[in-house]
Each structure stands twice: as structure tokens, then as C-alpha cells.
């Protein structure tokens, strides 16, 4: 600014210009400082959310560590209210622990972690979360965090210390570092900090986060002590650990030039060929040759001496050759059985009437990162029927509670026309209404979040497409359940006629006329004209006794197979004792042979199921083969992909006895519609 009047301003030295003065103020901004000023990037943008974020980061880390070392996680979260907005938060796990010398860096330094460079599915990725939590706590209350850890081994001591983050240098500030005796703790980590926050219940609460975490991590046991002193325990639903995700090398597809230059500079390989083949996945010497040729480079070239232009040529060449998609064993899906188990375990209180068989899609790749999608739908019971369906979103087994609107999962749900699957939806768009809960899990070596807060998955078309396919498959199961339910209600009426009303009618009319009670067999056959499969379940503690009664209400002798897929390791030896038992395979697919069942006769198949997956078996999921499914009520035709030998029985055309009533015609019409519907659906994803 120039001042007018008065003494003339001293002459400004041309060399030391404004830029120089600015330069005095210019200095390195540490990452830590940057995040301190931009807390929202990490998700610490409100008091409520900050409280949740801290718990989430600590629990995610604990689950990751347990998974890597094959420990069944026991995690306890405790919140104590100290003042209006002050909370003491403690998270304790039984994980492998952290070696003493690493503790300060893990907790007190941002962007310090083991997973940033690894291409593998894990919950945490950048190594920001827990140190950011401690930083935020430290900033909001001025108090350091207290951490304690013990690693496995008789001679190992437990160590504890107070840690704060120096925001200027991004280095931990450690005080009170000492060894101590941790009673009854073989290994594990405890982190305690005091932070400003606001405790909330409801959809975006710590409780909800832990509940949803328990659903997709059925191998974990989570205990939550809320600020009111209530204790919630989400018990372990299974002892089966998730399959360990393998670490993979980067896939060249979608590789940025900067990444390539960095890899080239850091490589230990001596030739371009070995660099390409060994530092990336899915590149064979043949492809290395082809790529080098296209980039006009020699395969013997030292990779560390590649120039920018050469790297550019290489990236272009890599984009042109056909390379196999990345290997997929780096992903660890939850799997249909465990998704169902987790859902049943946690949602049992609302007694849903139906769990659509969860779908795990085969892995796909986007931008060089493998990903896969899993989906499940829960229906009925005490889920409110007149509200929007709640959508549970998960990324690498972590529940996403915020930014639902920005998420690809929400978008995929909203783009499906749910009306054809039996849910209400205004105009065929948007989140549907009805008594249902939708679960979607996206697993990837690198989930494309919309921000560092990891609250929403970016809407990449490849991912959205996979989600829609998975949901449609689930929805089809739901629809067929709803159809089945309706048909069953209708047909059950007939069952009542022949089981109760006809015998009454025979007895009463015979009594009045003083004649013998007539034999009803032929009349019943005429009314029913089906083979009836009636499932029954009796719960005995954790075990369940399943009975299938098969009535032959037709006028022919019937021989056919009955199939069911029993959950693994649940069937008791009595299964094979039944004279009707035919065989079962290691997937639990079991078949029984019903041989020469006479008209108006019935047989029973009885067996027991026990073990932690026993309740995932739905007795209504029973199938027949070797008989026209049209003459069977209560069991479906064996799906074509069942993959076991059927019984070779040729069935001549059914001469249906009295096929003239409107009700039957309607039934058949419905069946036809359902077939058409199924066919249409198949077209959708072919």
C-alpha cells in the first residue's frame, strides 16, 4: 500500500521484493498440521462423529491385527462420561500386541503403517486413523493418550506409556514409558484417551457401528460398555476365521506413470524384463518382451535408469497389451454362509421371516485393483413394513455409517426396480420401502473411497454394476420366497381340507346315517393330486430336529429323490441311519430316495442338526428330482446347477385328474409367470 502525502516512502530495494518477504513466512507444513487444520478430511468434523471415528479406528486396527495373526478377536469398548463433552474412551483387544519400540510411531505419528504399501484387503490402509484419533483427543483436551501392549511370549513384558503427537514435526511425544505386569493378559493392546465428543444413539452411533461390525465379522466377540453403564455383548457366532487375504504385487492395468517411475527407482531387479515380471503381477516374460518392444526399450535395460519418457512409453505399451486380471486370492469374502450366520446372530431379536441366500460375486478388477461384491437381504418379522429399507453398507468388513447419499451402494440400490421383487418403490427408483434390510459388502485391495474419511465408496460403474447384479440375485431369491409363501398359504388350505375337514365329514355323515365310515383315500387323491412335502422343525436347545413328511396324494406309485443342502458339519450320525438316506457330499448336499411310495401313503425323514450353523438351515429349501415338479407341493424342482447326479426316472405325461377349476388354472398361470420372470432375470446378467 502506498501512502499519499507526508514524507516520501523509502526506496524499495528491487531485489528483495514482496516474494522475498513471503518467502520468510513460507515453511514446510507438516502432514500433521495439515490434518489438524482439515479435520473433516479424516472424518473428525463434528463432536458426535469424532467420538465414533476414534472407536472405529481402534476396532478396525484390532480386527486387522487379529486377522493377520489368526487370533479370534475379543474386543471391548468402554465409554465413560467425564463432563459435558468429555469422554474417556478405552479400547482393549487380545491381538498380537505391538513391540515396545514401535509403539510410539504406531500411535503418535501420522501416515505410519504397514499396510500403505501392501496390496491386500484390509480395514485400515493409510495408517492415519489411530494417530489422528490421538491427535484429535490431544488437541481437544490437552491430555496425552495412554497405551499399553503386550506381545506373545513368556518372557515378554507388558509396556505402557503416554503418547501425544507433535503436530509440527509429526513425531510422537512419549512420557511415562514403563514396563508393568499385565494380569491375565497373554497378549493384546489397550488404548485409552480422553476426548471431546457427543454421545448419540441411533443410526450413526457407536452401538450401530459395533452391531454392523459384528454382522460382517461373525468370528469376533465385541463388548460395549456405554456411558450409561449398560453392557452390550455381541457374541462370537462362529469359530471360523476369515480366510487370510494374500498380499499381491501391483497390477499393471491402470498404472499411473508416477507410480511406475517410483517402482522403477526402488526396484532391486537388474533388468527391465525381470523388473516387469517380478515386481508386477500377471506379467510373463513373453508380455515383458512384447511391452519392451512396443516401448522401443531393451529387455536388458537397467530399470533404475529409465527416463520419464521411457516410463511414459512403457505405461502406454502396458495399456495396450492384454494382461490377465489380477489374482483374486488377495480378497477375503465373508461368504454366503457366514453372512447369513452373522445376520441371523445379530438380527435374531427382530425375528425376520426370511434371509435371502447371500450372494458372493466372483472377483473383478477396476483400475488394476481386484474387488468383489457380496450382498444379502433380510425380510419380514418385526422389521417395520412401512419405512424405507435400511441399507447396511460395508467396505472391507467395515460398516459405513455416514454419507449414504454419496455412496455407490446407495446408488445401485436406488437404480434397481424393486417393485418386481415384491418391495414398494415410488416410480421404480430410489431406496425401496418395506420390511427389509439390505446388506452390501465391497471388498478390495484398494476401496475407492470418496474421501480420506472412508465414509462412502466412489460410484465407479464397474463396482455399481457388480452390486446391482449381486442384489438382483438376492432379490430374486426374495421374490421366489414371497411367491412360495403365497402359494403355500393357498395350498395349505387344501392340506387342511384333507387332513381335518374331510375326516370330520366322513365321520359325521356316517354316524348320522348309521353306516360305516367311508375310506377317504380316493377322494383325497382327487382333491390333492400332488405329492406333498411337509417340513417340520423342533428346536431342542441348540440342536434342531427336522422332519419331512412326504404324502403321496396321487393315484400313482411314486419314486423320486428329495434333496437338501445341510449346513457343513451339522448333521448327526442318525442322518445316515434312515433307510431313505441315499448319499451326501462334503458340501452337505444330501439326498434321500423315496422308493415306491404307494398312493395315499406317507413316509417320514427325520434327522437332527447341531452345531453353530444348524440354525442357518431353512427346511423349506428342499428340492425334488426324478418327478415332475408340477405334481409336488412343498418342494421345488432341483436347480440345474445342483451338480449332483439326479435319479434317472422317465416320467410320462401327467394326466391330471380334475384340472378344471379356476383356482388350479390360476396357479399354473402364476407358475408360468414366475418362470417367465426367472428367464427375464437370467437375461439381465447374461
Amino acid at each position: 500500500m502506498e501512502k499519499s502525502g507526508d514524507a516520501p516512502a523509502p526506496p524499495v530495494k528491487k531485489g528483495r521484493a514482496a516474494a522475498e518477504r513471503l518467502a520468510d513466512k513460507q515453511q514446510e507444513i507438516s502432514v500433521t498440521e495439515f490434518f489438524e487444520k482439515n479435520k473433516q478430511i479424516l472424518g473428525f468434523d463434528s463432536r458426535t462423529k469424532s467420538l465414533l471415528m476414534g472407536v472405529k479406528e481402534a476396532v478396525d486396527n484390532a480386527l486387522d491385527a487379529c486377522e493377520e495373526t489368526g487370533i479370534l478377536p475379543d474386543i471391548s469398548v468402554r465409554l465413560v462420561k467425564l463432563g459435558d463433552e468429555d469422554f474417556k474412551v478405552s479400547i482393549e483387544d487380545n491381538g498380537p500386541g505391538i513391540v515396545h519400540r514401535m509403539m510410539p510411531n504406531v500411535f503418535g505419528r501420522l501416515l505410519y503403517g504397514s499396510r500403505f504399501h501392501a496390496l491386500r484387503q484390509s480395514r485400515g490402509q493409510q495408517g492415519i486413523g489411530i494417530s489422528a484419533t490421538i491427535m484429535y483427543a490431544n488437541l481437544s483436551t490437552g491430555l496425552p493418550a495412554h497405551v499399553a501392549s503386550r506381545i506373545e511370549g513368556e518372557d515378554e513384558a507388558a509396556w505402557e506409556m503416554d503418547i501425544a503427537v507433535d503436530t509440527k514435526t509429526n513425531r510422537p511425544v512419549v512420557t511415562d514409558d514403563k514396563a508393568f505386569v499385565w494380569e491375565n493378559k497373554a497378549h493384546g493392546t489397550l488404548i485409552e484417551y480422553t476426548t471431546k465428543g457427543r454421545y448419540m444413539t441411533g443410526k450413526q452411533s457407536i452401538f450401530e457401528y459395533l452391531k454392523e461390525t459384528a454382522i460382517v465379522n461373525p468370528h469376533a466377540c465385541l463388548v460395549f460398555h456405554d456411558p450409561d453403564g449398560k453392557v452390550f455383548t455381541f457374541e462370537r457366532a462362529t469359530e471360523t476365521m476369515p480366510s487370510k487375504a494374500k498380499e499381491i504385487k501391483p497390477h499393471p492395468q491402470g498404472l499411473e506413470i508416477g507410480d511406475l517411475m517410483r517402482y522403477a527407482k526402488d526396484t532391486a531387479q537388474k533388468t527391465l524384463s525381470s523388473f516387469l515380471c517380478n515386481d508386477f503381477c500377471r506379467i510373463t516374460p513373453r508380455i515383458a518382451n512384447e511391452v519392451s518392444g512396443m516401448a522401443k526399450l531393451k529387455v536388458e535395460q537397467d530399470p533404475q535408469k529409465l527416463t520419464r519418457d521411457q516410463c511414459q512409453a512403457l505405461t502406454e505399451a502396458l495399456a495396450q497389451v492384454k494382461i490377465m486380471p489380477p489374482p483374486t486370492d488377495c480378497l477375503s469374502p465373508i461368504g454366503d454362509v457366514l453372512i447369513k450366520k452373522g445376520l441371523m446372530h445379530i438380527l435374531d431379536g427382530i425375528r425376520p421371516e426370511y434371509y435371502a441366500t447371500p450372494i458372493t460375486r466372483p472377483p473383478k478388477a477396476v483400475n488394476g485393483n481386484p474387488f468383489l461384491v457380496e450382498a444379502g437381504i433380510v425380510y419380514g418379522g418385526e422389521i417395520p413394513p412401512d419405512q424405507q429399507v435400511s441399507v447396511m453398507r460395508f467396505a472391507n468388513r467395515v460398516p459405513l455409517l455416514y454419507q449414504q447419499g454419496a455412496d455407490v451402494i446407495t446408488k445401485a440400490v436406488a437404480d434397481i426396480d424393486w417393485r418386481r421383487y415384491g418391495l414398494e418403490q415410488r416410480g421404480g427408483k430410489g431406496v425401496p420401502f418395506g420390511p427389509a434390510i439390505i446388506l452390501v459388502h465391497v471388498a478390495s485391495t484398494k476401496v475407492p473411497f470418496t474421501s480420506e474419511g472412508k465414509e462412502a465408496i466412489a460410484a465407479l460403474p464397474e463396482i455399481q454394476n457388480e452390486i446391482e447384479l449381486a442384489l438382483k440375485l438376492c432379490a430374486r431369491n426374495l421374490k421366489s420366497h414371497l411367491n412360495k409363501k403365497e402359494r403355500k398359504a393357498k395350498t395349505h388350505e387344501k392340506f387342511e381340507i384333507v387332513q381335518q375337514i374331510l375326516p370330520d365329514l366322513a365321520n359325521k355323515s356316517a354316524e348320522q346315517l348309521h353306516r360305516p365310515v367311508p375310506d377317504l383315500a380316493r377322494t383325497i387323491i382327487r382333491i390333492m393330486n400332488v405329492v406333498w412335502v411337509e417340513p417340520d422343525t423342533i428346536k431342542e436347545n441348540s440342536a434342531r430336529k427336522i422332519t419331512y413328511t412326504v404324502f403321496n396324494y396321487t393315484n400313482k406309485v411314486r419314486t423320486f429323490m428329495l434333496h437338501a443342502q445341510l449346513p457343513p458339519e451339522c448333521s448327526s450320525p442318525d442322518l445316515k441311519k434312515s433307510t431313505l438316506f441315499d448319499s451326501s457330499n462334503n458340501e452337505g448336499k444330501t439326498q434321500w430316495l423315496i422308493k415306491d411310495l404307494q398312493p395315499a401313503k406317507s413316509v417320514q425323514i427325520v434327522f437332527n442338526l447341531a452345531g453353530d450353523l444348524a440354525d442357518t438351515f431353512d427346511p423349506d429349501d428342499v428340492y425334488v428330482s426324478g418327478i415332475s415338479p408340477l405334481v409336488v407341493m412343498g418342494a421345488e424342482a432341483l436347480p440345474g446347477d445342483w451338480g449332483i447326479r439326479g435319479l434317472a426316472i422317465t416320467e410320462e405325461d401327467e394326466t391330471v385328474l380334475e384340472n378344471d377349476t379356476a383356482a388350479e388354472a390360476e396357479e399354473q398361470q402364476e407358475e408360468k409367470e414366475e418362470e417367465d420372470f426367472d428367464r427375464e432375470e437370467k437375461d439381465d446378467y447374461c
Binding site: 375337514i501 348320522q512 377322494t523
Partner: protein, 365 residues
Amino acid sequence: MTTANPRQKKALDSLTHTVEHIYDSLDRGEIPTMTIPLRSKRNIEFDPKTEVWKYGSLRTTRTAKTAQGAVTLLRTVYTTDFINEMIREGKSSTLREMYYISEGWHNAKFHTQDEGNLLAEDLETISNCMREDFKLRPEESGAHVYGNINFRTMTKKGMKTFNCIDDVAETGFAIPYSVEKETFQIASHDVKFVMAIECGGMFARLIENGFPEKYNCALVHLSGQPARSTRRLIKRLNEENGLPVVVFTDGDPWSFRIFASVAYGAIKTAHISEYLATPTAQFIGVTPSDILNYDLPTDKLSDKDIGALNSELSDPRFADEFWVTEIKAMLEMKLKAEQQSLAKYGLNYVTDHYLPDKLTMLGIL
């Protein structure tokens, strides 16, 4: 001890026959069925011989193939057994009592009294008997007669004669549930015509104003949709004593149906229309034209009223020029009126002006 009279015996035989039919079907391995006339508006036809509306040739079949059909058959068997027992023991029961007795019938239990009433009517149609023959009777309907008529009827102390002015209070003589000749006779009368009236208020007004005495007529209070015995009594007064019958109701769609059931026969009981309907009965009003001509106080038609009127337009019983014109007029003005709205012009207006005018028009006076 069997005290069945010939009509009861006939009733019993035909019910037993129905049960035999069911039993034989079961015995032959067939699906039992029961066929009865379709009891709906679609299936009533005018019988020129009796001049009343009866069921046509459409049939509906109750089959044990459907749950509802099977239950109906089972109820038929149970009800037959129950009737059998009543006849054997010389008892009778109300339809209400039968509803409660069915509590012990398990799968055949009636869930509402209507189900029991409908079944009794079904049995009438298949056996060509009246439910009184089955020893089933309705509750007293609350219908009354006032006028110079002598009825001879059964009391606990034997047959007695009542004059319907001298021997009754101002409410009139209560019509019993059965007015068949065995227990109820029209001994003598000194009236020129019979006027059936929908509501009690108007019935009382006419008595208070001395209308029956002045014009020499008998008043019958219908008490809403008239019970069978009320219609049967009107029919007998008309048929046996040659008395003309006029019907005086509110001016709304439901009252038109009251008139239709008196004059043409009700849809639900079309199987016995020739016992119950009085084809020569004439409608006095209140007609939609009256509402205009007498400028009566009105209410707006409700949606239900409009639905009822439209349904009447497709009812064959109303398919004549008079009714079509009147119903359409009412639909157009969207208004209805009660009989008592005539009080707008004073308490004596109905007896001094309206009725004498209308009766003269109809040729009664």
C-alpha cells in the same frame, strides 16, 4: 318320541337325502358337492304365474375341493343332525341359538351369525322347505299391526282372539315369528286396505292422528327391512282377504329395496317369494318426485347411497318405467328425504293432505 308333522318329515327327508349324497360321494371316492340355486341379483327371474321374482336356472356348486366349500358341506351335515335332534325332542331354536350351539362343532363352527342364517337359507332352497319346518326361527322382529282386524292365535292358554285396536296398546299387535295357518288365523276384519310403514315414528303419528279409524285401514309397522313373518302376514291379508296393500317409506335407495321385498320378493329369499311377496302392493312414497313436488327438507346422498341406486338400476326388479325414472331423478338431484320430513307443514299434514292425496291418486280412496 317323534312329533314331526308331515311338513317337518318332508324337511327332514330332504336334508337326510343331502347327507346321503355327501356320504355316497365319499364312499365312491368322489369329491362331495352340493348344488344350489345361485342366490344373487343375476339369478332372479319374474314368474308370470305367481307374479313374483324367483330364482332362475343358474346354479352354484359347493365343492369339498375348496376350503370354504368343504366347510359348508360339513356345516350342512352338522346342521342336519341338529335339526334331526330338535324334531326328535320336540324343541325349536332361534338362529342365534344355533350360532351358539355351533361352538361345539369344531371345524364346522359358524364364525358369524350371518353364516348360520345363510346356511339355513341354503337348506331351504335345496329342500324346498321353510326354515320354520326345520324348527329354526328368527328373533321377534318388532313389527306390529294396528287396525280393526281380529287375529286368532296360539297362546300358552290355547287359541285366543285379539282385536288389533281394542285388545292392544297404542303400539299395536306384535307379529309372531310364524303366521302360518296352524297357529295363526285372520278371524275377521273391517278394513278397506293395508298400509305398510317403514318407521315407528310415522306409525305412531298415524295412530295418534286417528288415521286407521278415519280411513278404515290396517297399519303394519315394517321396522326396517321387514322380517319374513311380516311379509307373510301382508301377503295373507292381501291374498285371503282381498285387501289392497300400499307401502309408505322414506325417500332413499334403501327404502326402495324395502318396497321391492314386500312387492316383488327379496333376492335372498327368492326361493319362497310366492309365500312372501305381494305383487299387487303399491308404493305411496316418499318418491323422488314428492321431494320436488312437496319441497321437502332433504339430506345429501352419501357415496353408499349413490352406489345403492346404481346397483338398483341393474336390478331386474326395478326395471320398469316408474322405478327407472324415479331412481334416475334421485341420482340427478343427489338428495333424499325421510317420511317424517312432511312434518315441515305441521303434524297433521301427512294425515290430512299427503296420504289422502296420494291414496286417491293410487285409486285406493
